[in-house]
């Protein structure tokens, strides 16, 4: 199934050669407006080129699809894709453009390229950028982007959902899948990699070692909203939590936390300030409780086991005493 959708994409990318002249307006509208949702399937929108998404909707006939596109649906399709400036004919042309992609998907004519990815704003952009150009060259950038860039999340290292492939780390706002590339403000935002220039690196999260960054004075974030000179009250107290099995014990350092946080952020709502009073499990952390209130959301994620589980147990000693008892 996925294979077929890959075919759909490669073919859809190569297709404009045939239909571009008649389809320029519909394609432009798709690239500018529809693709915001229909490229990735936001709000359960049928995805461009995914025949499986479209077939149940096509059962009601294309007239029904036109009507839904023009008037919107309760499921989340806004009338005219949220842009009332489009004429009815333009919206219909955009629907036709999307339908053409899935109709052709049924009869694949080209062999699937290995790394065709989901159509996303980035992939749609080169097509939109050159609507007047001859169709064949316009299709070429799509294919190169597809092979050079990252694969969708399901394809690479799907066994480890916390591990991000290289091409998908720290994307600039217009390409990050969340920001709207059609918004002028999006392009004014600082790309993460620019902001992180010169900061020490880590292997997860933002891939910035924030503790080292603040420790080595690479950054000096304010402790007070208005007073740049205010200094935190740092408390240097390690709490050791013994854990089951052979996993190293957890050392919780107050020092690194009080560099950033106030006591009241954690105590007493999240952690009762008494040793042994807090039942913590990895399950609750993964679900966003206890340490998981920050770790896994904004502080380093739980894939970095040894940053917390850092005190090695002396496993050799019990074995020795057992051997000694046997003598």
């Amino acid at each position: 199934m996925r294979f077929r959708s890959l075919i759909a994409f490669t073919f859809a990318a190569a297709l404009p050669a045939a239909s571009a002249l008649a389809d320029v307006s519909g394609k432009d509208i798709y690239a500018k407006t529809c693709s915001v949702c229909h490229a990735t399937g936001i709000a359960s929108a049928p995805r461009y080129g995914h025949a499986g998404d479209w077939s149940p909707r096509l059962a009601g006939g294309s007239a029904r699809l036109y009507a839904n596109a023009l008037k919107g649906t309760a499921k989340g399709m806004p009338p005219k894709g949220g842009n009332p400036a489009y004429s009815d004919a333009e919206i219909k042309a955009a629907v036709d453009h999307m339908l053409a992609a899935v109709k052709d998907a049924a009869k694949p004519a080209t062999p699937p390229k290995p790394a065709a990815k989901d159509a996303e704003p980035k992939a749609a952009a080169p097509v939109a950028a050159a609507p007047a150009a001859t169709p064949a060259p316009a299709a070429a950038p799509v294919a190169t982007v597809a092979t050079a860039d990252a694969l969708p999340a399901g394809d690479v290292n799907a066994f480890n959902r916390l591990l991000k492939p290289v091409g998908r780390r720290n994307p600039p706002p217009p390409e990050d899948g969340i920001h709207d590339p059609g918004n002028d403000g999006t392009h004014a935002l600082l790309p993460p990699l620019t902001a992180y220039a010169g900061l020490p690196k880590s292997f997860a999260g933002n891939r910035v070692n924030w503790v080292e960054a603040i420790g080595t004075k690479k950054i000096n974030p304010r402790w007070d909203r208005a007073d740049p000179a205010a200094e935190p009250v740092v408390m240097d107290l390690n709490i050791v939590r013994e854990v089951k099995g052979s996993m190293p014990d957890v050392v919780y350092p107050h020092k690194q936390h009080t560099e950033w946080l106030d006591c009241s952020n954690c105590h007493p709502a999240i952690f009762i300030p008494q040793k042994g009073a807090n039942a913590i499990s990895m399950a609750s952390i993964l679900l966003g409780e206890k340490c998981g209130v920050c770790h896994g959301k904004v502080a380093f994620p739980v894939s970095e086991c040894r940053l917390c589980h850092s005190k090695k147990k002396d496993l050799a000693r019990p074995a020795q005493t057992a051997a000694g008892a046997a003598k």
Partner: protein, 136 residues
């Protein structure tokens, strides 16, 4: 037999899609918070709060203790009246400490329909296994 398997699989996929559709395959920066309490309903793009740019400039305590942001995406019921009144974002985004609220599109910059969530968070990934959502 194969056919029955296919039917069962299709049913499963349909069931899964009910649970997982609507959560897009997002790739925003780790820690980015999308806030869509009222935006969509008001015809604005949802807000993307970039945690990490703020982290470079302010320690967690400033917002989460002094200003009073709860540790919960969408849990603060922020609206523009409160912001202009100097609460929440407005404590700094007032034209004195940081740029002021006239720059609507710098915050209201998410794709319409994006749900309130912390992007790339473990909880989000547990709720939306990418592979399962793609199986269709």
């Amino acid at each position: 037999m194969l056919r029955r398997c296919g039917v069962v699989l299709a049913g499963l996929a349909a069931l899964l899609s009910i649970f997982f559709i609507g959560v897009p395959d997002a790739r925003a920066e780790y820690g980015d918070v999308v806030i869509n309490n009222y935006s969509d309903a008001s015809g604005m793009r949802p807000v993307v709060f970039p945690h990490l740019f703020h982290r470079i400039r302010f320690r967690c305590k400033v917002c989460h203790a002094d200003i009073g942001f709860k540790f919960q995406a969408g849990g603060n019921e922020i609206n523009m009246v409160k912001i202009i009144d100097g609460q929440f974002c407005g404590a700094c985004h007032n034209g004195e400490i940081a740029w002021s609220v006239e720059n609507c599109n710098l915050c209201h910059s998410a794709k319409p329909g994006t749900k309130t969530q912390v992007h790339e968070s473990t909880i989000q990934k547990l709720a939306q296994p990418a592979a399962a959502a793609k199986k269709k």
